[in-house]
């Protein structure tokens, strides 16, 4: 069962369209798997829409301000209607395992996989500067060494499960961590995650400190 | 109608196809490639849509656990039926996978079944008649015009049907029934329980709100 959800402020910004594509997609993917959040988003969207289109100020824009008639004529000139594109499923392959990707990622460009040990990572090219978005596969028994983070780190489980000191995480769990968290996820059965982070990982423990150069690899 | 019993390979697939209907399938599992080989050398194969391959692979005897099936299929609940198809064309898809076009020549009752060493199902079947095969009633009604429009706007469908019997009322209703997005259990009720007239009424009420 999904136990970890985006907090309300995040959902609010999502509905307002104020989050970067990386985080918006993360919430959309989670909502697809989580009826509770889906419901909350639907409710909130209704409210926000109502508030936005309620005319509190009785404004009357002069016609020439918007060139209303001209714009209407231009728009209605063509009778063409929009046909939704065929719903092609997009999938990725990591180490011979095929994963069907959530719809939200349909039009995103996914880079080649790079591998270190039991971890494989493909960058999703979203051009969001310091924010890095990736697909991360852990093969059974794989894990990310204990690390902390200067910025935020979103891990969304698309398939499989992993564990850390706080318990087990399953498909659909939306795990948002910030600099105050440390964790050390290990996946017994293997998993695929969608990850968004705005800074490289920082490994914190003993010999793992030597791994810090690969922190940038993982997230 | 003479009921000849024939042994044919069975392809469990949730595809609703009535006599005259054509659909394209992609085949890549070894046992079904083998099935295609047998089908081309012999007499086609049977598409069986009520299929769930259960873990004990006792598939043919397992009925879909669907409450609707019980309510929508009051008649002959124990008769297993399938669509007997012939391969009319084949090609290789862009990804190298074998694509076959099959046309349904009749519906069959599946009397018994077994599995070979490659887990391919075979069934002893006998033909059953269906309203979609009955003598054509000439038609030019709006249902058939509407179907013509579908062919015009859907390249894939248009290519599949080299000959379109849109003047044949039974053919038109059968094709519409295949195309309409309703539950397979409901479509199936037009094999067991419902007449041509009922099928026509059903299709019309969706297309024309009659």
């Amino acid at each position: 069962m999904i136990k970890h959800h985006p907090k309300f402020e995040l959902i609010q910004s999502f509905v307002n369209g104020e989050l970067p594509a990386s985080l918006s997609a993360g919430i959309a993917i989670h909502a697809e798997m989580c009826p509770k959040c889906r419901h909350q988003i639907a409710q909130l969207t209704d409210q926000v829409a109502e508030v936005n289109f309620e005319d509190a100020y009785q404004e009357h824009l002069a016609d020439d301000d918007l060139n209303m008639d001209q714009m209407i004529a231009a728009i209605t000139e063509s009778d063409a209607i929009f046909l939704p594109p065929e719903n092609d499923e997009k999938s990725v392959v990591f180490n011979n395992k095929t994963y069907v990707l959530p719809k939200a990622l349909n039009n995103m460009v996914i880079g080649k996989a790079a591998n270190i040990g039991k971890l494989s990572r493909s960058r999703i090219q979203l051009n969001e500067n310091e924010i890095h978005t990736s697909l991360l596969q852990m093969q059974p028994g794989g894990g990310v060494p204990e690390h902390t983070h200067k910025g935020f780190e979103l891990t969304l489980l698309l398939e499989g499960s992993f564990e850390d000191a706080n318990g087990k995480y399953v498909k659909g769990d939306f795990i948002m961590l910030d600099g105050s968290h440390q964790h050390h996820p290990i996946s017994r059965e293997g998993c695929l995650c969608y990850t968004v982070a705005n800074d490289a990982l920082h490994f914190t423990q003993g010999i793992n400190k030597l791994l810090n150069p690969i922190g940038a690899f993982i997230y | 109608m003479q009921k000849v019993k024939t042994r044919l390979p069975i392809f469990p697939l949730p595809v609703f196809i009535l006599p005259g209907g054509i659909t394209r399938l992609r085949i890549f599992e070894p046992r079904y490639l083998k099935m295609v080989k047998i089908a081309t050398q012999e007499q086609g194969f049977v598409i069986w849509l009520n299929s769930i391959e259960s873990e004990d692979s006792d598939a043919i005897n397992t009925k879909a656990e669907n409450p609707d099936l019980k309510t929508m299929e009051p008649k002959e609940p124990d008769t297993l039926w399938g669509s007997w198809v012939e391969i009319i064309n084949f090609d290789q898809g862009d990804d190298g996978i074998l694509e076959i076009d099959v046309q349904c020549k009749s519906l069959v009752n599946i009397l018994s079944s077994d599995q070979d060493e490659d887990d391919l199902h075979f069934g002893v079947v006998s033909e059953r008649s269906h309203w979609s095969q009955e003598i054509e009633q000439s038609t030019t009604d709006t249902l058939s015009q509407s179907l013509d429009n579908v062919f015009d706007s859907n390249t894939m469908l248009n290519k599949l049907y080299v000959e379109k019997a849109t003047h044949n009322a039974n053919w038109v209703v059968a094709r519409w029934l295949e195309l309409i997005p309703v539950d397979l259990a409901i479509k199936t009720s037009f094999v067991h329980s419902h007449s041509y007239e009922e099928a026509k009424g059903f299709v019309q009420s969706i297309i024309f709100n009659e």
């Binding site: 369209g17 829409a49 289109f53 | 997005p181």
Partner: protein, 205 residues
Amino acid sequence: MQTHLLSNVTSDKSTQMPEKIDHPQLCQWLDAVATSRDKIAFTHLFKFFAPKIQRIARSKFPNETQASEVVQETMSNVWRKAHLFDKNKGAATTWVYTVMRNVTFDILRKIKGNKEDTLSDDIWPIAESIATEEESFDDHLENKQLLTVIDELPEAQQQVVKGFYFMEMSQEQLAVHLNLPLGTIKSRLRLALAKLKVQLGDHHD
């Protein structure tokens, strides 16, 4: 926290006394655009929404050209996508808001990231409302049963099954083909099925 927001909205309403939105009227106009490409209905929609969209867009884009691009794009999508609106799934305001939010998102991304991609419709699908709680009956009409069956199959089998071409139309395709709103298609399917059940009942007697 949600209640907190709700109360905010309510207090806004009571203090500013906004004009009440005539939801059935908006639905009717959208429906007229979808079914008969009604330009008069579209003009009504335009006059209702465009100034409000412009005000909202101005708060997000300092540049006046970009703000009117949002108006132009949003209203143009309303014209072209009206058939995707389903009044059974939500209010017209919610639908137009979604269209506007998606247009804004893509334009902002274009400006900030220099990316010409259109991700918004994948993230917030317009064709299908994200609200699916009350739809168990509608879902039921669709391929849900079939898909559950497929999901229960072993993986190799699933691939075979998913490898065939669905010759069946989707409800959306049927709606487009018949030039009717999706909501109408859904209600017709529902009625037709209800009728069929009555007939089956007769068979029993």
